[in-house]
Amino acid sequence: MNNKETIKEMQVSAIENGSVIDHIPVQGVFQVIKILNLDQIEDMVLFGNNLPSGKYGKKGIIKVRNKFFKREDINKIALVAPSATLIVIKDYKVVDKTVVEIPDRVEKIVKCFNPNCITNNERITTKFDVIKDEDALKLRCHYCEKTTSKENLVFF
């Protein structure tokens, strides 16, 4: 084990089985917790923020014991943590490592930015198509057809 990994382990302790979400932007950690409903989980959840990162300077990390995320669930965090990696741990060993992917559709988690949208006026689950053109990520509301840009994302 090299030095770097030892330091990491000391900052957020290792889990025997479960998932690690690494390389979360520091401003995104609490949103990731919210999007994945980690506050509802009864097993152990560990997280660290503003940890040193070679690639990004600072980063956040979340470890959830005995939890294995579905692809479509983990992809929801791509809106706030496009650089995140998902690591699956079994018996303290990394058995899988993947990057999150921006989904084509986003449901439930984001509020429509248009105050005159029906989703802000009746109890309706929001649905968006993700538009990825010109490098800027935008969400197009399934109902009012208006777009919400990344800076205006509000999570439920």
């Binding site: 005159n116 949208c117 029906i118 009746e122 109890r123 399934h142 109902y143 009012c144 057809e145």
Partner: protein, 302 residues
Amino acid sequence: MNNRNLISINDFSKEEQIKILDIAEGFEKNPSQNILSQAVVATLFFEPSTRTRLSFESAASRLGAKVIGFSSSASSSVSKGESLKDTILTVSNYSDIIVMRHPIDGSARYASEVSPVPVINAGDGSNQHPTQTLLDMYSIRKTQGRLDKLNIAFVGDLKYGRTVHSLTMALTQYETTFHLVSPLELKLPSYVKRHIKQKDLEYHQYTDLMEVIPKADIIYMTRIQRERFSDPMEYEKVKNAYNLDNAMLANAKDNMRVLHPLPRVNEISEDVDTNPKAYYFQQALNGVYVRQALLASILGVK
């Protein structure tokens, strides 16, 4: 198109849109056809729009259908606090199709998802008004003999004009050249212009109306509304910039026709009305044929 919803103009393919225009032509030749005498059409107008409502009700009546409904929220259970979902579920028990107008964006899409009967959107807030788009397309095809390769000028409020946005998107399916005439603060928004650019179609922007009159096959006028301006001085500056009068049409092409979604205020002066190039009242009549075609094809009798 049996049992389909019409919420956004894009819900119907180019071929389906043409099919509706073709069926509407049949109704223009023979408007009274008693083919929906067993049907009940609900017109739910959560905000008043007398013109659109009467047009739908006229269309339904000419097909022999019965019409039920309300013309403002004040005269419905909405004023008692009923949700849109409950109103739709209740009314769908009483009718075979729902035509709805609502001030909230996206309300029509939502209604179509909870309703067991088909829904036609007659305008949802600032979002969509697809039957207006179809009647505009009908009017263009009728007066020009085609939809392809036309010079279409849009004049006035291109920023907030819902009819302009939907018609622009529909016309990007054809080889249209767009001439966009507006004050700088009311230019066509980039999310609409994007559709023109995606199809590599030609478009030109102007602030001077006179410049486009000799080029256009269709001049589509819209109203500039005072409430769109945060600065009243700005409104005063532009309010009379796009008033079309008869003398201005001297250099127009013979085939050119003036369209307007109505109501008109002062953007087309009354001396244009008797010019054979004025087509806006006929355009409104075409709305009845197009709505007949929609009711008949969605209810499966055409």
